[in-house]
């Protein structure tokens, strides 16, 4: 608590000092010359928001500017993302987002933005997805699932967190690659899926690995190219004969057209933040492993994801 109180007070003090220094809009000097707005397209308290709020104090210090977090929610993250895309490209508005709003949603429906509306600054982390069932489930291996689906199409019930989300796309991809027919039941959020999975309403779910120990589930397979270090005994989907990999990640983006030097400054600040021990520890507590990529790498990575997801959705007849 003492640390917390001190922090609360220092925030209050900073806020008050800031109030004192309110100035008329000055002509543009060196970046950053005013608070930097971080747009989160998800509700406060959600996964993206929590990570951002953990990064905030250090990132602010490294950048040398106050950060203002704005949660602009709605429509699977597209409303906030659209707001970020429309912002002035001067580095004073940045977007921290998971893959969905920029690599899948633009394929699903008409949006005022696309992946090309953003320049990449850097990736924060990446977490490969696991396919999971309950310990009592009759389907303990990938072969069980595929065998049962071939025998009686639609008998295996897969859950997702909504149309066009990664868990859903992974189902589409497996259906297509294995030539099977599974039943897909969409839910709102992974907590609701866990409820249904533990209650025996659905059979299989693919999402972030940390759900497995949390709910004492049985990991069936990893959606990764190589076995996960935390789950050395869990085979990959690739070993099962299907070259499919899916992962959740968080990236930092700015609107296209942001000046080169501003972007470089942001990249530097992000990199330094992710190397700070307190941040590493904080994210570890959330079971997130930092896996930094610079802007250039993330741009290429996001583009590849965007294309792959577009193709999967098009093959499933879901593309707009």
């Amino acid at each position: 608590m003492p640390k917390g109180t001190r922090r609360a007070f220092s925030r209050l003090a900073a806020a008050t000092a800031f109030l004192g220094s309110l100035a008329f809009g000055l002509p543009a000097h060196a970046y950053p010359d005013k608070p930097v707005t971080v747009i989160i397209a998800w509700a406060a308290g959600g996964a993206t928001d929590v990570v951002t709020r953990a990064l905030e104090p250090v990132l602010a210090e490294k950048l040398g500017a106050n950060l203002v977090i704005r949660n602009i929610t709605g429509a699977a993250g597209t409303i906030g993302t659209a707001e970020a895309a429309a912002a002035e490209p001067d580095g004073h508005t940045i977007l921290i987002t998971p893959a969905g709003p920029i690599t899948t949603q633009p394929h699903l429906r008409e949006l005022p933005y696309d992946l090309s509306s953003f320049d990449a600054v850097g990736r924060i982390n990446i977490t490969p997805m696991l396919m999971m069932v309950t310990k009592e489930s009759p389907y303990q291996t990938l072969d069980d699932i595929i065998g049962a689906s071939k025998e009686k199409p639609g008998s295996v019930k897969f859950a997702s967190t909504g149309a066009g989300t990664l868990p859903h796309i992974s189902i589409l991809a497996l259906n297509q690659a294995a030539g099977i027919d599974t039943k897909h039941v969409p839910f709102q959020g992974s907590a609701n899926v866990m409820q249904a999975l533990l209650g025996g309403v659905v059979d299989v779910f693919s999402d972030q690995a940390q759900l497995v120990p949390q709910y004492e589930l049985h990991p069936v397979a990893a959606w990764a190219d190589e076995r996960l270090p935390e789950y050395p005994d869990v085979p990959t989907v690739k070993e099962g004969g299907y070259d499919l990999s899916f992962a959740n990640w968080l990236g930092v983006f700015v609107p296209t057209g942001t000046p080169e030097d501003v972007r470089a400054q942001l990249e530097e600040a992000l990199k330094a933040t992710l190397e700070t021990p307190s941040i590493v520890e904080a994210l570890e507590k959330m079971k997130l492993t930092i896996s930094h990529m610079n802007g250039e790498e993330l741009a290429a990575f996001a583009k590849a994801e965007h294309e792959r997801n577009g193709k999967l959705l098009a093959d499933a007849g879901l593309k707009k």
Binding site: G45, V50, I79, P186, N192, M194, Q195, L198
Partner: protein
């Protein structure tokens, strides 16, 4: 007992006190609710020790649910959706000049409801959590059907209009992205609508703006000052004993609804309220400023706090957005809610339980001490008060989603709320519809996927819980139709 020592530190006590004051204030501000309140304190918990962090979050949770009742009673604007049912009797009491008494009822009822559910949580969390797992989409659908019958309850005397309003609420909830297919509905090419109509902006518009507009348009000058007592007054014990059945029933309803997935405190308070209308001692006075209505609504919505923590702590499955944020606060502390929590971290769990009891007690004290101050707003000239309410409503509906579009929604809902008042249409059913709409549609369509579009399975012995709930639903509907007809006949006979 070790847990008690973990709690009795100055840091923890300070966290509870500050959290409670903060929670009451945020809960009372129209628009800002429990989710936002917990989120705001979340960053502070990052650097705190686990026990004070948990105490802080829990105190904010309980007190923000209570805080909503303050504005519901004083200015007819529920601070949170959970307290929408409190306006029905709380505000009429204020208009009679009994605001101090109304706050007393609400605060005491909140305390009892909160403590009741905490005791249930402590005694039987792991066992009760298993009930939650038996609620699949089909059971949830049946539960929502039962919950929807409270529309009939809160619109007594204008049943058709109430049902129409409830249907409108259900419909408004479908605007935006379809939860199942991801395609957008009823947006008429307005991009901002693809996120749907927020419950909070609509609620604030219907209640706060609608109320201000219609007061300004009242014939007799509109500046009728309420001459009421300020302060805080508890009703004598005898008065409480007369209403003990409603108090107990509402606490049970709140706890039970809290345990079940998909619904929350708003649903619980409406169900408890309509149950009080069906079976309360003063049922015919409900809606005219009868304390029993406040007791039903406030004890049940605070009872949800303990109930909602059952699946959150014992299974790691939060039943609503509020407990979801609460759970992320625990995860940040390195505490993983779930089946193992009770075995691996008993001292943390016990500390949390004791903290919850203390939080409820502190909530009562803070409520009682702040009431004399807060009720002073009633002494303010009405134009001043209404001006402030408008500004707070606008900023509150903006604050939740950070979008100016939400303020526009509030304005439109305010105009609609004004017309509904003119036409004698109750607005509470709209809120019920909007609260239950998304989960109603989702559970129905999920159920239909699971049963291969065979609706009859919903009512079969394959799903005994669902069958039971649907049967109760029909009985209640038949009962309310019968009383409505009987009342109409009586009115005609009297006329």
């Amino acid at each position: 007992m070790d847990s008690l020592w973990l709690l009795l530190t100055p840091a923890t006590m300070a966290a509870i006190l500050l959290g409670t004051v903060f929670g009451v204030v945020v809960g009372a501000l129209p628009g800002l609710g429990s989710v936002l309140a917990i989120t705001i304190v979340l960053p502070f918990t990052f650097t705190m020790d686990p026990v004070p962090a948990i105490a802080l979050v829990l105190s904010v949770y309980c007190s923000s649910v209570y805080g909503g009742s303050v504005s519901a009673i004083l200015i007819n604007t529920p601070g949170t959706p959970q307290s929408a049912a409190t306006t029905l009797d709380g505000y009429p009491m204020t208009r009679r000049g009994e605001a101090d008494l109304a706050l007393g009822w609400a605060t005491m009822a909140s305390l009892i409801g909160g403590l009741f559910s905490t005791v249930v949580l402590i005694i039987a969390a792991p066992q009760l959590a298993r009930i939650a797992l038996r609620f699949g989409p089909i059971e949830t659908f049946a539960l929502i059907c039962l919950a929807l019958t409270c529309i009939a309850g809160v619109s007594r005397g204008s049943m058709i209009k109430g049902i129409l309003a409830g249907l409108l609420g259900l419909f408004l909830a479908t605007v935006g992205t379809d939860p199942m297919t991801g395609s957008v509905r009823f947006t008429f090419d307005v991009f901002a609508l693809s996120g749907g109509l927020g419950l909070i902006p609509v609620l604030v518009g219907l209640f706060a703006l609608g109320e201000v507009f219609s007061r300004m348009a009242e014939r007799h000058g509109g500046t009728a000052q309420i001459e009421g007592r300020v302060g805080f007054k508890l009703a004598p014990l005898g008065e409480w004993l007369l209403r003990w059945k409603t108090l107990l029933k509402s606490s049970l309803i709140g706890t039970f609804v809290g345990i079940l997935p998909g619904t929350g405190a708003a649903t619980a308070s409406f169900i408890a309220y309509s149950e009080a209308q069906r079976s309360g001692r003063y049922k015919e006075r409900l809606g005219t400023g009868e304390p029993e209505g406040i007791v039903a609504s406030e004890s049940s919505n605070n009872a949800v706090t303990g109930g909602a923590l059952v699946p959150t702590l014992a299974l790691g499955i939060p039943g609503d957005p509020t407990t979801a944020v609460l759970m992320s606060a625990l995860i940040i502390q390195g505490i993983q809610p779930g089946v193992r929590l009770f075995i691996d971290n008993p001292e943390i769990i016990n500390a949390a339980f004791i903290a919850l009891i203390i939080c409820n007690l502190v909530m009562f004290v803070v409520g009682a001490l702040s009431a004399p101050l807060i009720t002073r707003v009633l002494r303010m000239p009405e134009p001043l008060l209404l001006g402030m309410v408008l500004v707070l409503s606008v900023v509150g509906s903006y604050g939740v989603g950070g979008k100016l579009f939400d303020v526009l929604v509030t304005l439109v809902a305010g105009v609609a709320g004004f017309f509904f008042r003119v036409c004698g249409v109750p607005v509470a059913p709209i809120v019920i519809g909007m609260v239950l709409g998304p989960i109603f549609e989702e559970s129905l369509r999920q159920g239909l996927i699971l049963t291969d579009n065979d609706f009859s399975v919903f009512f079969s012995l394959e799903h005994p819980i669902a069958l039971g709930l649907i049967t109760v639903t029909f009985l209640i509907l038949a009962w309310s139709a019968w009383t409505e007809v009987a009342a109409a006949r009586e009115r005609r006979a009297a006329a």
